[in-house]
């Protein structure tokens, strides 16, 4: 394609839009947190192991309690 192509010249000259100031800084601060968050090994251990294991444990206890309660009500 030729450099003298008027359509391509117009395309090249289109304005470059940007996000507003609030959004720009919001994304920046979230990204900084994401970058720093990875540095905390405890946070990673909590996110990936402790929290899922804790939720799983609570769910199992609740299920046993619910089945036990139903069994008692119906005298099974």
């Amino acid at each position: 394609m030729s450099d003298a192509d008027p359509i391509l010249e117009q395309l090249e000259a289109l304005p470059t839009p940007d996000v507003d100031d609030w959004r720009r800084e919001h994304i920046r601060s979230r990204a900084h947190r994401a970058m720093k968050g990875r540095e905390s090994k405890w946070l990673v251990v909590y996110d990936r192991i402790l929290e899922p294991a804790g939720l799983f444990g609570v769910s199992v206890v609740y299920l046993f309690w619910a089945f036990g309660s139903v069994a008692r009500i119906y005298g099974v």
Binding site: L11, E12, L14, P15, P17, R28, A31, A34, M35
Partner: protein, 193 residues
């Protein structure tokens, strides 16, 4: 651009990637301030929706932040960002098309989208005509036009981003250029008749 400048730019980019790999937030800021407007412009013209483009921009740079330490040493940051942005857009588009299929199956037709704030705020008439003609191009032609003609990437860089061979990309570019010219001529004829 001379050979020395290309080498210097390449060295500067490798240094930036090295700092990103070390999770240096100042390096993130440098990449964010340098590439954000271009990635946002690409997404805005691809999606035609400001809110969606903002969401995809956020997701793109969060991916850079979370995957920074795993970047290859020779990563080209700009190409990496455009590739992620494009993939996020395509994933969103697939999801929306699936959703529209479901709505269609229920016998309902979605309301036509209202003009976006971006369309309303297009200031100059020439730009507005061009933006509208661009917006009407099918996505596979629009994305190559945006990457090469608007964002100034080389055809070989754009070919890597859209995952096609350079020759196929050049063909798409030629076709996109023809379609754009036809759309602009048709608009002028409608305007004068």
């Amino acid at each position: 651009m001379g050979a020395t400048e290309v080498i210097n730019e390449h060295d500067a980019e490798r240094a930036l990637v090295a700092r990103l790999r070390a999770r240096d937030t100042a390096a993130f800021d440098e990449a964010y301030d340098r590439y954000r407007p271009r990635v946002f412009g690409f997404l805005l013209r691809l999606t035609q929706q400001r809110a969606l483009a903002e969401d995809l921009l956020q997701e793109t740079f969060l991916r850079l932040a979370t995957k920074a330490s795993g970047l290859a040493e020779d990563t080209r940051v700009q190409a990496w960002l455009f590739t992620v942005a494009r993939n996020l857009f395509l994933s969103h588009r697939r999801w929306v098309l699936l959703d529209l299929d479901r709505i269609g199956a229920l016998g309902k037709s979605p309301a036509p989208p209202p003009p976006t704030p971006y369309e309303r705020s297009a200031a100059r008439e020439t730009n507005e005509r061009l933006e509208r003609a661009l917006a009407r191009l099918p996505v596979k032609y629009r994305e190559v036009m945006l990457l090469v003609a608007v964002e100034g990437l080389s055809p070989s860089e754009a070919a890597v981003i859209v995952d096609v061979k350079p020759e196929a990309l050049r063909q798409r570019l030629r076709r996109a250029r023809e379609m754009l010219a036809d759309a602009l001529v048709a608009k002028e004829e409608r305007g004068t008749s």
